[in-house]
């Protein structure tokens, strides 16, 4: 763990306080950091036992410079990460980063704001994280979206040059999103189609789940490396399973019990929403487990099918209310084994969680925390 941080913060200003020291001065106890770490570990599907190691790493780290760029977007992702958060546990992430530039959140504007961005880039050369919200128009040299006289394309290239890593926040920055929907009048694309020489983490969703956004940033901070990504560059911890496989309505699908309209008996009984156009079977995201608004609910639980917003081109895949395909005739047979589905499904879910943890840990190369003898010096 210490080595990971040595790599990440090797050239950090040695005079700067560590987060542990900085937070202690503000009256934040280690118990508070440990609590945050267990929250992150739970989010990232890391064994919660690693929360101790994460807490230690965070305490020794220094504030991470973050430059947040807003391009062709609706600011929904910023809304999601800021508005849904309460001044408590989740808020601690903002103590761990130094948000040096964000058009939506910073007080200053105009040339003062641009000066802050340039200063952050200069002082943290090669070490800052860039968060991009929104797609980038390429048509007519990117003239469709300009800020301070510079196209989004130029700003992205300039800021990405000395970045440590880029997080494409939301479906627009990840895959082009709604600006890139047919007929894509501005030639909008995601970050990865422009920047080829930097690590890019895609965190799609319209918007992404707040916990997924903070979890990804916290993973970078606490483990000092990029989390394991899937073939679309998304963290597997959050996008490793599809909504359908983790959906609490899955047993109804297996039994062939479907809602066929939004006010029929099936809908009232909470049956599967496949026939009403649910895109859960082809959508990879954490909505079914982390859920929204702090775990209160998610679209399917509220009676509406998944729109598939974390997948590329979700806006152009036909009606949100057309079923993916006609259910197969095998469903009748599946119903025969329905009694076994519940427990078997549960065991599989537990195994999936364990397997996922193993993969994430392998990728992150996290050393297993050693057991300590009570009373022994752990230094």
């Amino acid at each position: 763990m210490a080595k990971l941080f040595k790599n990440m913060f090797a050239t950090s200003e040695s005079t700067a306080l560590t987060l542990g020291e900085e937070l202690a001065q503000k009256g934040v106890s280690r118990r508070q950091i440990l609590k945050f770490s267990s929250y992150v570990a739970a989010l990232m599907a890391l064994p919660a036992s690693y929360s101790t190691a994460i807490a230690e790493s965070l305490s020794k780290a220094r504030r991470q410079s973050v430059i947040w760029l807003s391009f062709q977007e609706c600011t929904g992702c910023t809304e999601s990460i800021t508005r849904s958060f309460s001044p408590s546990l989740e808020d601690l992430i903002f103590d761990f980063i130094s948000l040096d530039y964000s058009e939506a959140l910073m007080n200053v504007s105009g040339s003062a704001a641009e000066a802050a961005r340039k200063q952050a880039m200069e002082e943290n050369k090669g070490k800052y994280i860039v968060v991009v919200e929104g797609s980038i128009p390429l048509d007519k040299d990117g003239i469709y979206s300009v800020s301070g006289g510079h196209t989004n394309l130029d700003v992205l290239k300039e800021v990405a040059k000395d970045a440590m890593a880029i997080i494409s926040m939301g479906t627009c920055a990840s895959f082009g999103g709604i600006p890139a929907a047919h007929p894509n009048p501005t030639g909008a694309v995601g970050v990865h189609e422009i920047i080829k020489d930097k690590p890019i983490i895609n965190v799609p969703g319209c918007p992404p789940i707040p916990e997924v956004m903070t979890g990804t940033i916290a993973f970078l901070l606490s483990l000092g490396k990029i989390p394991e990504l899937d073939h679309l560059g998304r963290p597997k911890a959050f996008y490793g399973d599809n909504i359908h496989d983790r959906c609490y309505r899955r047993p109804f699908y297996e039994r062939g019990e479907f809602a066929n309209s939004f006010d029929d008996e099936g809908a009232r009984k909470g049956y599967c929403l496949f026939n009403l156009g649910c895109k859960g079977p082809v959508t990879y995201n954490a909505c079914a487990t982390i859920k929204w608004n702090g775990g209160v609910s998610f679209p399917i639980q509220s009676g509406h099918g998944c729109l598939g917003c974390s997948e590329p081109g979700f806006w152009d895949k036909g009606s949100f209310y057309s079923p993916l395909s006609t259910p197969t005739s095998g469903l009748g047979k599946a119903a025969m084994g329905a009694a076994a589905v519940g427990t078997a499904g549960a065991v599989v879910a537990s195994l999936v969680q364990r397997k996922r943890r193993e993969n994430i840990l392998k990728a992150a190369a996290v050393p297993k925390p050693t057991e300590t003898k009570l009373g022994a010096d752990d230094e």
């Binding site: 808020d91 702090g294 509220s302």
Partner: protein, 153 residues
């Protein structure tokens, strides 16, 4: 104990069976802990995160029914509230961290002598030594000052 948030349809969902399926995993960790403790006092904890599993509210309630309630109840008031309680099985704990509005952020089963969140950290203890020392010095100085005032009277 804070009530879990309600939902629209989950009341209609039958138990998925996950609560029963977790019990063998819990006992395996508990057995490991018992074996380790035979060799002497050791700090080790295994944690099962319930939020990472597709459990319904009914599943979690069912699991808590099986685990029961033990002798210890604790509240941690830092960065939001946390409820910590020992189940009826000694060494099996429930740890639940809340955000504001009583939203559950972390919902864990912890198998340990004591969950780490209840233990004081060495850095905080060191800071306490300094803080208490300051308090004593201040009290002594106040005492000296007040004695000097009295003698002046």
């Amino acid at each position: 104990m804070t009530k879990a948030p309600s939902s629209c349809h989950e009341n209609d969902v039958p138990l998925t069976g996950l609560s029963i399926a977790l019990l063998p995993e819990i006992i395996a960790h508990l057995q490991d802990l018992a074996e380790k403790l035979k060799k002497g006092p050791v700090f080790a904890q295994e944690i099962i995160s319930l939020r990472g599993l597709p459990m319904t509210r009914e599943d979690i309630e069912d699991l808590d029914k099986h685990l029961g309630h033990g002798e210890v109840n604790a509240k941690v008031e830092v960065a939001g509230n946390s409820d910590v309680w020992e189940t009826s099985y000694s060494g099996v704990w429930r740890v639940r961290h809340f955000g504001t509005d009583d939203r559950i952020l972390v919902d864990d089963i912890v198998i340990a002598v004591i969950p780490e969140i209840l233990m004081a950290h060495k850095d905080d203890i060191s800071a306490s030594v300094l803080r208490m020392n300051d308090t004593i010095l201040n009290l002594q100085q106040d005492g000296i000052a007040s004695n000097q005032t009295k003698s002046l009277d």
